[in-house]
Symmetry: C2
Subunit: 366 residues, 2 copies
């Protein structure tokens, strides 16, 4: 960790404890995962991250194409089986995994979670949880009814630096939180140069694209840092580029009141220069993550005239996410970002969209 403390703030760096959540026995695990949806995130980020994981491994790959699943499976030693979506739903290879990781277009998350619940498998579901509040609620119900653990893949919540910052805030490092200010933008059409992609299709993405896909980061990370929940939303959004004709929020800005009184404001765009930050301003100091959300984080804390910057050796956020969830399963412990936690984000996002559409402030979850 690189630390550049100013006099007076050194104490903020005490107590940085890597994986303080670790609960399961030393020799427990690993938890075996079926990875559902073999897009670039799964192949380029998740599979390599699981190679370095201590408590989790990828044993099954699930894709629409048997050929694609087989081809990718051949590259990874831990992977035992490659099956199609239909085969997965039919219970194929169920002996070869303990939990599933869902990384498909938003509107397909539910069906895989439902099958997993039927099979008694735990569910780690990418965020946003589903395309709509109704479908997210059905996922919660299915997993609760089957008594299988459900966690939403908020990798910021298991990032060691974010967890450290949360402890600092709890210990009063910036006084009482007053404002949260975040931004998250990317040029989606440069990353995936296809105007017909699912993030621009309302049937697959849900309420929209920039809030669902990007605004959810400052929203959920602030919830986690402050242990506070959204209660009311105001928003503006706009789509201008023709590729965004079917979604309302090529760009968006929203203000969400949290239940501790903090005013959270964030901007998100799927068609702007890639930029991320999250700033929490309190009565006695401020905390700034920049970069904030995309597999890389740095933290600056200011209090009075003092400042400290924390740039730890970057932990792989996906390794941390999977191992945290695996640890919870192995220890039979509750997960932080469970289904009801994720559902509230979808309710907040629906409120943001309704607020933008109607021009009125909208209560979350009403």
């Amino acid at each position: 960790m690189t630390e550049t403390p100013t006099a007076g703030l050194e104490s903020l760096l005490d107590g940085y404890a890597y994986r303080a959540w670790r609960t399961a026995d030393e020799d427990a695990g690993p938890v075996r995962f079926a990875l559902i949806g073999l897009g670039w995130w799964t192949t380029d980020q998740v599979l390599p991250a699981l190679e370095d994981a201590a408590l989790s491994e990828a044993t099954v790959l699930v894709s629409g194409s048997a050929e694609k699943a087989e081809r990718i499976a051949a590259d990874w030693e831990s992977v035992e089986r490659a099956v199609t979506y239909d085969e997965f739903h039919a219970g194929e290879a169920a002996d070869a995994y303990d939990a599933i990781y869902v990384c498909t277009p938003n509107a397909y998350h539910l069906e895989y979670a439902e099958t997993a619940a039927d099979l008694g498998k735990a569910v780690l579901c990418e965020k946003p949880m589903e395309a709509t509040v109704e479908r997210a609620a059905r996922m919660v119900e299915a997993c609760e009814d089957a008594d299988v653990p459900l966690m939403v893949g908020y990798r910021m919540q298991t990032d060691p630096l974010v967890r450290h910052a949360r402890e600092l805030i709890r210990a009063g490092a910036i006084g009482e939180p007053v404002h949260a200010l975040g931004n998250n933008s990317q040029t989606l059409l440069d990353i995936i140069p296809n105007p017909d992609q699912w993030r621009l299709d309302p049937d697959l993405t849900g309420y929209g694209t920039s809030v669902m896909d990007l605004g959810i980061y400052p929203l959920n990370t602030t919830r986690f840092l402050l242990d506070a929940d959204p209660v009311r939303a105001r928003a503006a959004m706009d789509s201008r580029h023709e590729a965004f004709d079917e979604v309302p929020d090529e760009r968006s800005a929203f203000t969400v009141t949290l239940d501790d009184g903090t005013l959270l404001t964030a901007t998100a765009s799927q068609n702007a220069h890639g930029a991320t930050s999250l700033r929490i301003v309190g009565t006695d100091g401020e905390l700034l993550f920049e970069p904030a959300f995309h597999m890389e984080t740095a933290l600056r804390i200011r209090r009075g005239d003092d400042e400290v910057t924390v740039e730890p050796d970057q932990a792989n956020q996906m390794t941390e996410l999977f191992d945290y969830f695996a640890d919870r399963l192995l220890a039979d412990a509750d997960v932080g970002a469970d289904g009801r936690h994720g559902l509230l984000d979808i309710e907040a996002i629906r409120a943001v969209h309704e607020a933008a559409e109607t021009g009125s402030a909208v209560d979350v979850g009403r």
Copy 2:
């Protein structure tokens, strides 16, 4: 100037021209100012700033207390006369100044501007222009009817670094602007430890305190940088500390749509750790001022993977403001931040307050 360019962005530093606005003849001036209101800003910031000014000087001090005005006048060589508010309104010492600078509580600005208009004197009025839209409009009218120049004291608009950034944006350095994100907070009760101060009295401050006094900085600076005007506002605000019982916005967050489609979001608080920043995210890059608003500015520009930080020798923002206005007067040229420009900010601030109160998006100037 300290410059740390990454390859590819050096060209952004070309063309940094200090006082490119200079129009008046070399030997013109100085313009003689009567300073109205001798609070800490005038005594600690403005009088020293005018000692270093090339085109402007303080010749008259105006205060409620003759004794106070005389006492302070004795400390400054350029000052010829010290008069009371009543004497000012009666035209005392009118031969000793060419223009007035108004730095009283917001709701008193109008009366000094009206007297100046009657006397044929130019007006430099601190922001926010007045307590209400109606009073700000009366100021515009009074000055237009008397044909005296009126400028609102937006010192960010004459900060050399802000003007340079504006040229860069115009030249396409960050592509098309998409988002503006600003924050401005201070602990008012530490700065002025008196709960009965005018910024907390609705009769003197106007619509409120954090938006009028602090939120106006990201609002107006973004307008200037992007050459864009506010059209629609959404907002949330809250007062919790008892000193803020009479004003609605101890803390505030607002989103304003600009007429170029940019979504501007900002937070402001009069009861939080002092923090300022302004970020403009465009299609090709982003620009960050931090610190942003309080007599000190630094600028970071990012485009692709390149980054440049510009930290010029800090010009005194009040010297720049007065000399710019003096130059305009001496050259008989239009001012940028004129009365109608300032009035639009007050209309936007009224819309922000109405949006927070009603829970509805409100059109600016409707």
